[in-house]
């Protein structure tokens, strides 16, 4: 895809510029330019593995790299915001798309850390892997100063992701049946092109128009907003994408059913090499109708230790 190539090229350039920017920033020993953003209400910390992030240490990085879009006040009203679609996240709402926690809950520090590193595909949020782990941890802590929710609430435990059962043509067929039954197609379209009957009317929580994900766009480099592995897709069904029309299916889908749906979604990515597309090809390229009473019992955890295909194991956000 031409546009994807352009995005890639852009991110390479951007990374170069950023790297240069960081070294300049260091050389000048944190220049004092422009009006100061207001002091954060309360110093916050983040914990990423053995790294502790401190909000006070992220002040300059935030001003230099984040405030342009997210705004000095963290309200998503930076000077670039008017030009952007989707709009930059408003940190004062403390509502985040990519979480490992249930819908409505705060994300974990690790979730925010991953998002900064990964960037958000199909948006203007770049991959910030030029930052050190410490810088990113500090920025996570800084983001948490913008909403009092971080002082009052706990993110809760990350959802459990059970072991992925093997990809079979049956699981793909069942996933397809679920795609119809759960009415994923209403937004994402019958072929996953993001052109379902409700697609044109969708708005996010700030009444901004928002497009459902088009599964068919992009080849092997295609990514989802919140990661690129099968487990990342699984997670999306369960957590939902808060602040957007994508709801949580946690209460209405069984773990094995969710995996079947993941397997089917991979086949919608027609230009992407995947285990699922291989299985589909081996089965003649056609998804058989799903039989409501399967002859084989649902995959039990005992026989589902098959690892995901190597292509699924690429780390999220590995842009360069």
């Amino acid at each position: 895809m031409n546009s994807l190539k352009r995005v890639h090229f852009f991110s390479v350039i951007l990374n170069f510029v950023l790297a240069a920017g960081i070294s300049v920033a260091r050389a000048q020993d944190a220049p004092d330019v422009g009006p100061h953003p207001p002091e954060p209400l309360k110093a916050m910390e983040s914990h990423i593995g053995n790294v502790t992030g401190h909000s006070r240490d992220a002040k300059l990085d935030y001003r230099r790299y984040c405030a342009g879009c997210h705004g000095d006040l963290g309200d998503g009203n930076g000077e670039n915001a008017v030009w952007l679609d989707p709009k930059p996240r408003d940190f004062t709402m403390a509502t985040f798309k990519c979480r490992s926690t249930v819908t409505g809950m705060l994300p974990t520090d690790q979730d925010l850390f991953n998002t900064i590193a990964r960037g958000l595909t199909n948006s203007n949020m770049p991959i910030w892997n030029t930052f050190t782990k410490q810088q990113r941890a500090d920025l996570v802590a800084y983001i948490k100063t913008f909403s009092p929710r971080w002082e009052k609430e706990k993110p809760g435990d990350p959802i459990k992701i059970p072991t992925e059962p093997p990809v079979t043509i049956e699981s793909i067929a069942h996933g397809k049946a679920l795609y119809t039954k759960l009415e994923c197609w209403k937004c994402h379209g019958p072929q996953g092109k993001g052109d379902g009957p409700s697609a044109a009317t969708l708005t996010d929580s700030k009444d901004q128009p928002i497009r459902p994900y088009n599964f068919t766009a992009g080849g092997d480099d295609s990514r989802f907003k919140c990661g690129s592995t099968n487990a990342d897709i699984y997670k999306i069904f369960i957590t939902g994408v808060d602040g957007t029309p994508m709801p949580s299916f946690a209460d209405v889908i069984q773990p094995n059913d969710a995996w079947d749906l993941v397997h089917f979604l991979r086949t919608l990515q027609v230009k992407r090499h995947s285990k699922e597309n291989e299985v589909l090809k081996a089965a003649g390229g056609k998804i058989p109708p799903y039989n409501e009473t399967p002859s084989t019992p649902p995959a039990s955890p005992n026989n589902s230790a098959a690892p995901a295909s190597p292509s699924e194991n690429r780390t999220a956000g590995g842009g360069n």
Binding site: K186, C187, S205, P245, P247
Partner: protein, 232 residues
């Protein structure tokens, strides 16, 4: 169940008669001017819902009755009464014919909300909370009721992203003294002990109004609210 309820009632009646036989604030909500005409909803994208409405229903941003009465106004005691605890019984919010019934519900903070899907289509319930947690849950046909609670007082706009015409409100309050005006504009806030109260009336499009009312005993005070209709 019945006897225990009766027992509690007797107990309360004995201990604090003021609570049971206190004053009442009641009245009517009306509007002046010309409200914007509500638009018919095109549900053709959801035939299972469209066929339930003949003629098509309209939007419910402003619902009026005869004699300029205004429906769906949340009238509640915003100051003067004890916050009280959340009632044990849940408040039900039903999705039927791709419409929220009722359009506005009142909940106490911490009171259980039950969301019912009575339709043959999936809905997603998306309360666009700003003070409370914003969540968004899918509810395919036949799935169990969604049970939720809200911790903070807030008027929360609720929508279904799949069916963008579906819109409703959760009025989360710190009081049980609440009444939502009917099509005759009527509301009633009974069981008020003697005291000075602030009564607030909230309408989703016309905003809020307040009045101070003093209850001296076993009396009924009549107050009315009149909202100015927005021209657009």
């Amino acid at each position: 169940m019945r006897t225990s309820k009766f027992g509690v009632a007797v107990l309360i009646a004995t201990l604090c008669p003021a609570l049971m036989f206190g004053g009442t604030i009641s009245g009517k909500v009306t509007y002046t001017g010309t409200p914007v005409k509500q638009k018919p909803i095109d549900m053709s994208k959801e035939p299972s819902c469209a066929k339930q409405h003949n003629p098509p229903i309209t939007t419910e941003t402003v619902v009026t009755g005869s004699n300029n009465t205004l429906e769906n106004v949340v009238v509640y005691i915003s100051a003067g009464a004890d916050d009280a605890n959340a009632p044990a019984q849940a408040v039900t919010f039903t999705q039927k014919g791709c419409q929220y019934t009722p359009h506005v519900i009142a909940l106490h903070t911490g009171q259980e909300l039950q969301v019912v899907n009575a339709d043959q289509t999936s809905h997603n319930i998306h309360p666009l909370a700003k003070v409370n947690r914003e969540w968004n849950k899918s509810q395919p046909p036949g799935s169990p009721n969604i049970q939720e609670k809200f911790d903070q007082p807030e008027f929360i706009s609720v929508k279904c992203n799949i069916h963008p015409w579906m819109h409703g409100w959760f009025a989360v309050l710190k009081t049980n003294h609440v009444s939502i005006s009917k099509d005759d504009g009527g509301f009633s806030l009974p069981n008020l002990p003697a005291g000075k109260y602030t009564v607030t009336a909230w309408h989703e499009d016309y905003g809020t109004q307040t009045q101070e009312v003093t209850i001296t005993g076993n009396e009924t005070k009549a107050i009315d609210f009149s909202f100015k209709a927005k021209a657009y």
